[in-house]
């Protein structure tokens, strides 16, 4: 008997079903295991193939996913990855993303359960992003790339099936979001004038890594007219500060995504740190743009030291400190950038892809069982 067959003898680990595709999908819907779209049946053979790229014990949890605090074992994660349409070689990156988003600073419990519409955004850096063809260029957040679509979907299925983020039960989001189907991209390192995000966040350049952010959907910043970096940054700053944002009340770390053309224009005169300082100083919202009740009940409470008796021209900041702002270069040609607000009560987590013995992985083949 195979190692997997032995694990599947545990109570509740497997279920025998009619093998017909439609019958399996009807069962998935009946059990509430899906995201509403048809799934690839998580048969024993397909899960076995997925686990060929896992060097951890298959039945030991790598994380507990809130709000249910379900144990994310490689076995369960592999079933979700199969259902989402992942190739087996995607599994190490998928498992890394799950581990990262379950680290305490991200506050996944809040991200999952809130009435806000946030979802974990995963940005992939390093050689594995290129090895797996994770799209960083044109339409990076859109359809058409299997790695982006299926790994992102597998994450959502794990958040649903293991974490219990069931709409209106464990996920109380007022609106939900398209980002709750799939939200994974790579940074366009080849087109970036600056060091990659994972290097800025302390990892070696040769590392592969994910950065996870409890994020809203991206909001476009159209600037076809500015002829220099200051102009582009002014337009981005003007897009960042809005009255309904969570970030203006928290020590949050929102994300500015620069398209490569904007990034080059900015980098001609600004380092990344200088660009962050400019944006922090200029992305402001006059208190007078808020409602009277919000001023009384939130501004005066949250900023009691600085704004105990605010005037309409006093300002709130989209990001409280320049060093808290994240900048990544993503996308293809076109004079666009984007702003990604966050849930507020969440901090980004960056984690490197390592094998079970702690080495930085050079390739997903490092995880393959021999």
């Amino acid at each position: 008997m195979s190692a997997l067959a032995q694990l599947l003898q545990a109570p509740g680990a497997s279920i025998d079903a009619d093998g017909d595709f439609d019958a399996v999908n009807a069962l998935v819907m009946e059990k509430g295991w899906g995201d509403g779209l048809p799934v690839v049946p998580p048969t024993e053979a397909r899960v076995a193939a997925m686990l060929e790229y896992c060097d951890r014990p298959w039945d030991q949890p790598v994380a507990k996913i809130p709000p249910r605090w379900g144990e994310a074992t490689p076995l369960r994660l592999a079933a979700n990855a199969v259902m989402a349409g992942c190739e087996p070689r995607y599994f190490p990156l998928y498992l890394l993303a799950i581990e990262a988003m379950c680290e305490e600073p991200l506050n996944l419990y809040g991200v999952q359960a809130t009435t806000h519409l946030c979802a974990p955004l995963v940005i992939v850096n390093g050689p594995v992003a290129r090895e797996l063809n994770v799209n960083a260029g044109h339409n990076a957040f859109g359809p058409g790339h299997k790695a982006n679509a299926s790994i992102g979907r597998a994450i959502r299925l794990a958040l649903l099936n293991i974490g219990g983020a069931i709409p209106a039960l464990g996920d109380m989001s007022t609106f939900g979001s398209p980002a709750k189907y799939s939200y994974l991209v790579a940074e366009n390192e080849a087109e970036s004038p600056w060091e990659p995000l994972h290097v800025e966040r302390g990892l070696p350049r040769e590392a592969s890594a994910v950065t996870v952010i409890g994020a809203e959907c991206l909001h476009n910043v159209n600037d076809h007219e500015s002829l220099d970096g200051e102009g582009v940054l002014t337009t981005i700053a003007g897009t960042m500060a809005t009255a309904g944002s969570n970030d203006i009340y928290y020590k949050a770390q929102p994300l500015v995504i620069m398209g490569p053309e904007h990034a080059r224009a900015v980098a001609a005169h600004f380092s990344k740190a200088e660009a962050k300082r400019f944006l922090q100083q200029h992305a402001t919202l006059p208190v007078g743009r808020l409602s009277r009740d919000n001023i009384e009940r939130r501004v005066k409470v949250t900023f009691k030291d600085r704004l105990s008796n605010p005037k309409p021209d006093d300002v709130l900041y989209a990001v409280q400190r320049a060093e808290d702002l994240l900048i990544a270069v993503i996308g293809g040609a076109g004079k666009h950038s984007a702003f990604v607000p966050t849930f507020g009560a969440t901090l980004p987590v960056t984690r490197a892809l390592k094998t079970a013995d702690g080495r930085l992985a050079q390739s997903v083949e490092d995880f393959r069982r021999r």
């Binding site: 599947l8 509740g12 680990a13 497997s14 279920i15 025998d16 079903a17 009619d18 093998g19 017909d20 019958a23 399996v24 069962l27 059990k31 295991w33 049946p41 998580p42 048969t43 024993e44 899960v47 996913i65 249910r68 605090w69 379900g70 144990e71 994310a72 074992t73 076995l75 369960r76 592999a78 079933a79 979700n80 199969v82 259902m83 506050n107 419990y109 809040g110 809130t114 009435t115 299925l157 794990a158 099936n161 293991i162 974490g163 219990g164 109380m172 009940r297 939130r298 849930f343 507020g344 009560a345 969440t346």
Partner: protein, 97 residues
């Protein structure tokens, strides 16, 4: 006719299901000890005040311990939970959205 397959279950059971089956006998005679956890949402304090008044109108209440967590979006810290466990028979918290 299609054949049978073995599917790997993608779902994790809820560990809280086990905890929820535990019971603790509470003697109401001298009044219940009521715990209040204000999650600091807007209006949570008002909502909880009304609920406490409503409970007092229908049940004997020996004591009320009312605690507030600092962040709406983060779980209550251990010291608050420990105190509620130690000093309360029942705990009411607020959603308030």
């Amino acid at each position: 006719m299609s054949s049978k397959v073995r599917l790997v279950v993608p779902e994790a059971p809820s560990p809280q299901t086990v905890a929820a089956t535990e019971t603790r006998a509470v003697a109401i005679g001298a009044g219940i000890r009521l715990g209040i956890l204000d999650n600091s949402k807007g209006n949570a304090d008002h909502l909880l005040k009304f609920i406490v008044e409503g409970v007092k109108a229908v049940l004997p209440v020996a004591s009320v311990v009312s605690l507030r967590k600092d962040s709406v979006s983060l779980p209550a810290p251990a010291d608050i939970l420990d105190r509620l466990v130690a000093e309360s028979d029942y705990v009411i918290t607020a959603m308030a959205d």
